[in-house]
Amino acid sequence: MNGHIPILSVNGVYKRFSGPYSLLRRFKSEPQLAVHALTNVTLDVERGETLGIVGESGCGKSTLARCLVRLHEADEGVVRFDGQDISNLSGGARRAFNRRVQMIFQDPYGSLNPRMTVSQVLSEALSVHKMRPKPEIPGRIAELLDLVRLPADAAGRYPHEFSGGQRQRIGIARALAVEPEVIVADELVSALDVSVQAQVVNLLLQLQEKLHLTVVFVAHDLRLVRHISHRVAVMYLGQVMEISPSEALFSAPRHPYSKALLEAAPELDPAHKNRNVALRGELPSPLDLPPGCPFAGRCPHVFDRCRVERPVLTPRGPGQMAACHLTDFGAPGASSDQLPTGH
């Protein structure tokens, strides 16, 4: 892209976690099993946008989120923030990066230190990063609580005194305390009740407008991701299958997996009852990835090439990329009976 630098860019990132190493394998001197959490992931996050990352469990979306904030280091490839390779940052530069890229966690119970009051949590963040001189800290805490719509008397209370939704607000306030530019939200609302989810999503949308935040929204709920994101990346077994503008993805998915995922998500319209199963089969073990396309084993359109050659992301429609050998899949005008079917 001509000269402009995306705020976050992920380039060819691999991440493996070592799996079990059985005695039998040692004796046979076979290599240790490894979980391939991320395989050749490449994507950009533009300033001010919301990028949704969606996928089922084990697809690597949380690992990717953690690589973005450097909770994990990539095994191969680079993650750049503002053009700078984040794995090279140390000392002050690393602290500055941490301040500018914040994360909000899934678990409203585990993400707050149970022995610290809300004001202790917030004032720690404010004072470590020297966001405000000491006398101004209480005032800033009040502002932050107001920003996330928590009552002012919340400051003196402990996490266990709050409901799940309120705790997520505290987590958001903690992240906002250091005035970040990017927020990575990992399953922010998936532990919450539906009505409370909506409150937190609304809050996030409002804060993004007000503070000009860039948001990476990681979730398994397609409806939610579509609602909140400008662009969406669909992941499967550690790889990006498709990355498209939100409406384009949902109206004309260009990857068979995206399509299946959309069809499997129950529609909120009882008139749309459909008795066909969207996608058969189960996720293969991430310990032992097939050489070709990771989706080959479940794909209704699979053909020989898919089993031997791994497809890479290539451009489709405007702003749309998909990793599928069927470059015409889902394209307007292309009829589905041209596609190979059957196994």
């Binding site: 919301t50 089922e56 469990s57 409901s163 939704g165 309120q166 009740d193 539906v194 009505s195 409370v196 989810q197 909506a198 409150q199 999503v201 609304n202 949308l205 409002q206 398994h220 397609l222 409806r223 939610l224 579509r226 609602h227 909140i228 994101s229 400008h230 939100s246 409406e247 949902f250 299946a260 995922l261 069809e263 499997a264 998500a265 129950p266 529609e267 909120l268 319209d269 009882p270 008139a271 749309h272 009852k273 459909n274 008795r275 066909n276 199963v277 969207a278 996608l279 058969r280 189960e282 996720l283």
Partner: protein
Amino acid sequence: MTASTVPTSLPQTAPGLLVRGLTTTFDTSRGVAIAAADVDFDVAPGEVVGLVGESGSGKSVTLRSIMRLIREPGKVTGRVEWGGRDLVAMPAEELRRVRGGEIAMIFQEPMTALNPVLPIGAQIEENLVAHTDLNRRQRRERALELMNIVGIPAPERRLDEYPHQFSGGMRQRAMIAIALACSPKLLLADEPTTALDVTIQDQILKLLLDLRDRMAMSVVLVTHDLGVVAATCDRMAVMYAGRIVETGTVADVFACPNHPYTRGLLGSVPRSGQSRTMLQSIDGTPPNLTDLPDGCAFHPRCSFATEICLKQRPPLDLVGTDGRRAACHHHERVAAAEPIL
């Protein structure tokens, strides 16, 4: 009580489930928690009924109360009629024959609901031992047949495997196989797909619908996901703070909610064509069950609330045909409000 407003005229011989005035309370250190209050609903043969609500709404407690799975200090009162008999008053011996036989149950977390040290096959056969007089060979055959019915590949081999060797979706299938062992007439499903991925959830829900058709059984499906209700249920009951606040056919309730809570729930779910707009959230949080507000339990979070809602609890009254009921003083205003869909 609501007895006067609920038709009790169903013939005594009507097969199916009749729940009347089911109330479950727990004595806690902070007072009596009313987890389910005065719950009335019917399940006709072959029907899938969804019980929807958020955590603490009483949907799971209701399901467990039907099966008398409430432990001390919980107390269950009311009537649960099944084939003319009352499950709440039934002696334990008789109840054991009904459980796992005519009525089966599946749970949210199959890993904890299955016995980790017994092979799946043995767990299916265990149910057959309890409820049939099949011999060993017949039991094995039936187990194989069940594994095929629920779509577990390579059933011969998998019968001898343990739960930890199954994936989440396969475990849920195995649990369904156990539940189906004695061809139950009613299946109680407590959030059976909540722990599963969306493509697996889709498979399991469609499996349940197929089984319903094949085995002519009724299903009560407890879920928090309105999408699941829309995709699978014929009728639904929305619960809030232990009570049913609205019930009717799924099509009617989705098309025109008569209770502000149902309306709020539907508005909370993002839908297509409205990207990045504010969702219609419900303010506040569900009430504490030991300290419910006076009048309508929903009034502190309700935008339709008036004086009367603070003082008088609305009964679950008929508001239309097809057993359409809502417990709201202002159901007409709610129904007439601008559509959220």
